[in-house]
């Protein structure tokens, strides 16, 4: 019962964030696309945690941990990638 319900919630969370793919596609700005990816990242982490509980695979929590660590990494890379030559910082006054 419990595993089924947790897996069901995993599916629900994934479904709701996957809709964010539309924003990745539509934009219009790079910032929009990044935010959508961020939402998918957080939702993906939640999905993995729920799956780990549903499948009773505690090791899978490590996957969520790595995803969370790399979410920050990807965020920085996104922002860098949107700056010319890929080396800037949006906080610098141009």
């Amino acid at each position: 019962m419990m595993p089924d319900l947790l897996a069901g919630f995993a599916a629900l969370v994934l479904l709701s964030v996957a809709a964010g793919l539309a924003r990745v596609l539509r934009g219009p700005t790079a910032a929009d696309r990044m935010m959508a990816a961020q939402l998918l990242g957080t939702g993906g982490i939640a999905t993995v945690l729920l799956l780990a509980a549903a499948l009773d695979m505690p090791a899978a929590v490590d996957v969520a941990l790595v995803l969370a660590l790399l979410a920050a990494f990807a965020a920085v890379a996104f922002v860098k990638g949107a700056s010319p030559e890929g080396t800037g910082d949006p906080e610098e006054e141009a």
Binding site: G20, A30, G43, V61, A72, A75, A82
Partner: protein, 97 residues
């Protein structure tokens, strides 16, 4: 089904609701700043609630700490993105105008 299970289900359900709300905001709000605003609140709360709900099922103290670490790291990433993306959006807006 134990009381802890009910707690888990309630927290997870609330978390899932916030994810849903975040997506609706992302898709429906008119401009990049309001979208950002909606999003950062929603997904962090959502993940936080789900982590909270799963805590009783964690394998030991270490497992629980790991769950909390996941949430903190995600929070950190979200905060960074919010800050940097806002700057970026402002600059993109300037360039577009």
């Amino acid at each position: 089904m134990s009381a802890w299970d009910l707690f888990t289900l309630a927290a997870v359900a609330a978390g899932a609701f916030f994810f849903l709300a975040g997506t609706v905001g992302l898709l429906r709000f008119p401009d990049v700043f309001t979208r950002l605003h909606a999003l950062t609140k929603a997904d962090n709360l959502g993940l936080g609630l789900i982590v909270l709900g799963l805590l009783p099922r964690a394998e030991g103290v270490f497992g629980a700490l790991k769950l909390v670490a996941v949430w903190l790291l995600a929070l950190l990433a979200a905060a960074t993105v919010a800050q940097l993306v806002a700057r970026l959006a402002r600059r993109e807006g300037d360039a577009g105008a």
